[in-house]
Amino acid sequence: MMMQIFSTFEHSVFIEMAISTLEKKGVKRENIFVIPLDNQTEERKVFDNLHRSDGTSFVDIGVALATAFSVIGASIGFELAWGPIYWGLIGAAIGFLIGFGIRIFTEIILKKRRRLLKGFHSEIIVIVDCEESEAEMIENILFSHYALGVAKIKVQK
């Protein structure tokens, strides 16, 4: 009796190890079907704003302001009781918090709809054709390589 095993993964080296192990156990390459899913938020971000690299968005202004405030804080700090190092660090912290605050405001309040879902994402679907006798072994291989979910489908004649 034919079976198909469905599973979902995140992008990592484990999915390649899982597929490699399946092939080593005798599953043919043409019986493994891999579908990378398009991630909704990523497409939208690039489309929304050509000039921004999404990953940077939460720290970019923060680090920039931290640097600027730190220079000013250290300069003035030479004249103050706590000296330039403490005031430089205080300046950096204040600058970072202000920049981070600005980003929180623009990203979360103004662009609520673009936020990523929390937790694990199913980024790839893997479907494996196999005999019923192999199903258990394949399921174990998939789960031991951190599949997010696995389902065994018994094909109806």
């Binding site: 990378p36 050509l50 680090v63 030479f78 430089g88």
Partner: protein, 262 residues
């Protein structure tokens, strides 16, 4: 040894994995790159992986800044002592600083806008690129790393975050200059004194003009290692999708109707 021999058939490549690091073109905010050039000429170009220009502009900045006492003048200006600032600036060096400073900002801004367009075209072209490199001195390959760890190591010593993500060229450059700045600023002596609670002594031991390079080098090291970790992770995903589409989508495969087993 690489896993792909470039045959120059692409019009544009989006990335290259080499022994010295993963170089890629990705979308960047031109204002942020321009800002880093303003904080320290050269940093904008290092962020773009345009190292030679970055090195030239960075070393230029250190030499001319120290010789014309610009950092000291900044300290006096922020303290409101404008007369002292005027007095300390060395006009034998000062004027030459300005055009190069403006050029660094303008050129990194302009290049970012250009590279963003190149990125869009290169990404659509989806040409294969080298993604694994092993040689006598190093091994580099696409991998997923934690952006938080890159930040934490950069906070300890600028450059370690770059080493973590195999950005060897920036790592060496930043680590060497961090050592120079720490030594000439007497910053570590001051930190030791601060731990002992001797705040006044700590302030006295510091060489102010060298200390003022620290905010930028720390900020840059944190930002550069963080965004490059994120971008390398994204490149990993893209490359893996491409690999699966090429190798695991047999035309004879059929999705069949059935029932889920318990």
């Amino acid at each position: 040894m690489n896993n792909y021999s470039n045959d120059n058939t692409a019009r544009r490549y989006r990335a290259h994995v080499s022994i010295l690091g993963t170089t890629q073109i990705h979308l960047r905010n031109p204002y942020i790159i321009g800002w880093w050039s303003a904080a320290f000429p050269g940093f904008g170009h290092l962020l773009l992986s345009k190292y030679l220009r970055g090195f030239v502009l960075f070393i230029w900045e250190v030499v001319v800044n120290v010789n014309c006492n610009l950092n000291l003048a900044m300290i006096y200006s922020f303290q409101g002592e404008i007369d002292k600032a005027k007095e300390i600036l060395d006009t034998r060096w000062l004027l030459i600083y300005i055009p190069v400073y403006i050029f660094a900002i303008w050129d990194s801004y302009r290049t970012t806008v250009d590279l963003n367009k190149i990125f869009v075209l290169a990404e659509r072209e989806e040409h294969r690129f080298n993604s694994f490199s092993i040689g006598a001195m190093e091994i580099n390959y696409l991998d997923k790393r934690s952006p938080l760890m890159a930040i934490i190591w950069s906070l300890f010593v600028p450059g370690l975050g770059q080493l973590y993500i195999h950005r060897i060229t920036t790592a060496f450059f930043v680590i060497i200059w961090t050592v120079v700045f720490f030594y000439l600023s007497h910053g570590l002596e001051a930190i030791s004194l601060l731990f002992l609670g001797e705040i006044k002594q700590a302030t006295e031991v510091i060489n102010a003009e060298w200390l003022l390079f620290f905010p930028s080098i720390y900020g840059f090291a944190i930002f550069d290692s963080y965004i490059n970790t994120v971008e390398n992770n994204k490149l990993y995903d893209k490359e893996q999708r491409f690999y699966f589409k090429e190798n695991y989508q047999s035309s004879s495969f059929q999705v069949l109707k059935g029932l889920k087993m318990k």
